[in-house]
Amino acid sequence: MYPGGTKRALEDVSITIEKGEFVVLTGPSGCGKTTLCRCFNGLVPHFYGGKLEGNVLVTDLTVSEHPVQELARHVGLVFQNPENQLFALFVEKDVAFGLENLGVSRDEIRKRVDWALKMTGIEDLRERTPHELSGGQQQRVAIACVLAMQPDVMVLDEPTSFLDPLGAQKIFEVIGELNKKLGITVLLIEHRLDLASRYCNHVVVMDEGRVVLDGEPREVFNSEKAHLIGVGIPKATRLSQVLEKSGVHLGRIPVTSEEASHVLKEVLRRD
């Protein structure tokens, strides 16, 4: 419960995220997604105050017993609103800030900043001022800041909401690659599941402070409950449900457009 709140923001939440997973966390706005993410690096309860019951363990550290600055080495958080996270005069300085604080060597900082800027496609913004950038550019900078830290866990709160769809797709690809190649555990808060679902292997749906669905993407998206809560189920899955009702059975439930094209081809050829 937040200070001054009348209702618990989280209610009896239990989830386990394994190392190396790519988790999508979704649910109606105000359902507690952001609050849950703030628990992972200790912003709840250390910064926001309020009352946290139960335990949150991140890479074996109990969140309530370790300060934010210690947790930040393990968990990188990309905020919903990039303006809340950027403050330096130059993009480069912002990206280097976390590393400087950890006392990383100059050469290593330079290397990692270059790498993070390259991964997010903003090398040309290096000397610009974050506050003069567009919302989409700021989101890339915010992601670069966290990337540079190479954390064990990356928590991203709608990190591409201001980006054009092609830009968003590129960012998801980058995150997907970091997850696959470096084994970084990813927790992504997202409403636009059409774009995000192809990268994840675990979906958690929250509603009114509780976890209501937790499992494999195909199962979660195809469940009646997800539909009732109003989760933006990928159109590929929706199409298979609509067809099912008209008596056309696809055999396998598609999540991405490629999967849908593929299973549809089989059905259309079969007939």
């Binding site: 609103n81 919302g135 092609l166 830009g167 457009s257 259309l268």
Partner: protein, 273 residues
């Protein structure tokens, strides 16, 4: 009616955000402006209520040159909801926030009360009436910003990225408001990256890239044309992508809606079986 005639705009830092853009938006039209980050979308819509004045060319709102009237005068007719709700929220409670502009426009207290209640209810914020906007989630703050503009009933409603942070149900609600607003002969202009939302709403679509308008037309025409889609840095709706993958079977590829997709598939199955 909003007429943009040959408008160029250069920011003080030298960035040329619009290059000889011309566009006409009629009363009662529903327009979605889409395109790359930095294409000039937000710069363009800031010209509609006079927040920005063209470096060259002119913008006429109902025949009035935006250079000749104050933003406050234009605002009465042209309501603007910013991309980032935190740029427009500052009051202690949601109720005060929604009432703020009405008080500024000098409405009577009785009318204000009614309008506030109406707008708050419309956006499903009644339980937060007395809450500080800053205690709310990103999606909820966005709705507060929208309520505060709808409350004064402007003729033109401009929404910069209205679907950000909104869940599926809220988006469906938003779609229904827009339909309602259009039915009341209001002009609705949205800037959005949300192709799925556009596919569901079916507005007139204006595609922008690098300070120019690349193309305009109905949503289907714009979103299913692979060249235009790439040029504007968007992606086709998932339904279109699915059908592009089925193109060699002889199915249509210009579909954006799930129901027309179902029809097309059922037809195909009937014909071939």
């Amino acid at each position: 009616m909003i007429e943009v005639k040959n408008v160029s705009f250069t920011y003080p830092n030298g960035v040329e955000a619009l290059q000889r853009v011309s566009l006409t938006i009629r009363n009662g039209e529903f327009v979605a402006i889409m395109g790359q980050n930095g294409a000039g979308k937000t710069t363009l819509i800031k010209h509609f209520n006079g927040l920005l004045k063209p470096t060259s060319g002119e913008v006429l709102v109902d025949g009035v040159n935006t250079r000749k009237v104050s933003v406050a005068t234009l605002a009465r007719n042209v309501g603007f909801v910013f991309q980032n709700p935190d740029h427009q929220l500052f009051c202690e409670t949601v109720e005060d926030e929604v009432a703020f502009a009405l008080r500024n426009f000098g409405f009577k207290e009785r009318t204000i009360k009614k309008r506030v209640a109406w707008a708050i209810n419309l956006l499903d914020l009644t339980e937060y009436r007395k809450t500080s906007p800053f205690m709310l989630s990103g999606g909820e703050r966005k709705r507060v910003a929208l309520a505060s503009v709808l409350a004064w009933n402007p003729k033109v409603v401009i929404l910069d990225e209205p679907t950000i942070g909104q869940d599926h149900k809220q988006k469906e609600r938003l779609r229904q408001f827009i339909v309602q607003l259009i039915a009341q002969r209001k002009t609705v202009i949205i800037v959005t990256h949300d192709v799925e939302f556009v596919a569901e709403c079916n507005p007139h679509v204006v595609l922008m890239a690098q300070g120019n308008i690349v193309a305009e037309g109905d949503a289907k025409q714009m979103l299913t044309n692979p060249d235009l889609v790439t040029q504007a840095s968007i992606v086709s709706p998932q339904i279109t992508q699915i059908f592009l993958g089925l193109a060699n079977l002889g199915l249509p590829t210009d579909l954006i809606d799930i129901h027309e997709a179902r029809e097309a598939l059922l037809n195909f199955l009937e014909v071939t079986s």
